[in-house]
Symmetry: C2
Subunit: 251 residues, 2 copies
């Protein structure tokens, strides 16, 4: 079956958050991410649009859901990638507003308005690597189901639970959890915290850091000591998150 105009329009509209929310769907592109989707969340797959070149491989993976053929010209129209890559899948958007119950014995992440899609995707990969189950985003954080974020998670999105909940609501349900906010200079050194420290690690916005209102509610403020005082102003937010996780979470 070839793609219809209505399907083309739907796929194009899903580049925008408002239509993802309206239709409750999002788009995943390329063999690698589509295969991650199928193997991790097969029952959320709605339709897969594939070029002929990839169709046989898709069938060989055991996918038995809805398949629509798409030619290279139409693929280019619907793709958010610079170089469209054989296949796009439409999947059901999960409920992002559930307030999660977080383990007091584990590290979880809270992101205070991260704006860069690459940073959010990279942080979700960090969570996946370090076995962090939950990434909670303050409202105002970039949408995790935008194409750039999804693609930059490299599949980690299917193994980490992401939700959009404000700090007060999260803490109302998880009162026993200690929070650690990453600040630039004035916090306790991450090297003095000890190992295997559980709690909620809070990472702030790329240029503004953690908002003052949220900062005042943190249990602890922590910093990565700066070795060169001659000029370095900051670390990338995802890098800072990685360095702190590398310190807090050990085998």
């Amino acid at each position: 079956m070839a793609i219809s105009n209505a399907q083309l329009k739907l796929l194009q509209s899903l580049k925008l958050k408002k239509f993802r929310q309206k239709y409750g769907k999002y788009v995943v592109e390329g063999p690698k991410m589509v295969e991650e989707l199928i193997s991790n969340k097969s029952n959320s797959v709605h339709t897969i649009y594939t070029t002929l070149s990839y169709k046989d491989k898709l069938l060989a993976k055991g996918y038995i859901g809805s398949i629509v053929e798409i030619n290279d010209k139409d693929l280019k129209k619907v793709s958010a990638l610079k170089t469209p890559n054989q296949v796009v899948a439409v999947a059901e958007l999960p409920d992002l507003e559930n307030v999660p119950s977080l383990s007091v014995e584990k590290v979880s992440l809270f992101l205070d308005r991260i704006q860069d899609p690459g940073n959010l995707g990279t942080i979700i990969r960090i969570a996946d690597w370090f076995g962090i189950k939950n990434v909670v985003c303050a409202p105002g954080t970039v949408d995790v189901y935008s194409s750039k974020v999804i693609q930059s998670t490299m599949g980690a999105i299917y193994r980490v639970e992401v939700s959009y909940v404000d700090y007060e609501k999260l803490m109302a349900k998880n009162g026993a959890l200690k929070s650690f906010g990453a600040v630039l200079d004035s916090g306790q050194s991450i090297y003095d915290l000890g190992e295997d420290v559980p709690g909620l690690l809070v990472i702030g916005n790329e240029s503004q850091g953690i908002s003052p209102a949220l900062k005042s509610q943190l249990d602890h403020q922590i910093s990565i000591p700066r070795m060169d005082t001659k000029g370095a102003e900051s670390l990338n937010a995802a890098v800072a998150c990685g360095i702190i996780c590398g310190q807090l979470i050990r085998p």
Copy 2:
């Protein structure tokens, strides 16, 4: 003095590496990066092209070199930014092929064909934060004087020495230096290395890692232990670099 057509053409051409090399010049954009350039490398500044809105601020900073006014329309033509930002500076390209002498008591970085401009810029920020003086890039690493890399260093480029030298040449001059290559799985845990371990930290290409030829020459292979074995495949290269630096370099 208003901008000439020849100057416009020069600025546009400097978006490409071949013209940066031909003319020995590169471009820096926006007040923040231009101010970092002036305060760190004032004698490398060739000409500053500024909108009227920023000219007074530039003069107030004590800049006494060549200034050319540029209007918003021309600024848009020469800018590599989505949102051009008041000012662009042309500076002299430093010699990137010097083989540096690296301290055996410090950590230095060797990047084996990092491709993503944002990753290279982020790694230079990491070096700046941790007081790493030298970042050596294998030929084939993305050009550090491309607009995206320069802008993403946030000024760190002016405090870290970057060179493009192959591993054999570097080691011919720095034979006493121990090398540590970051590999995905089979290396010694970074947590077992001890603190303040000096040497050359080698970070590989985003998708291929360290090349087999280089790997065979490493003194040590090290890995960041993965906590979740259910799927996480890798960490972003800059994040991995940050996590290892956070482990090796302590106050």
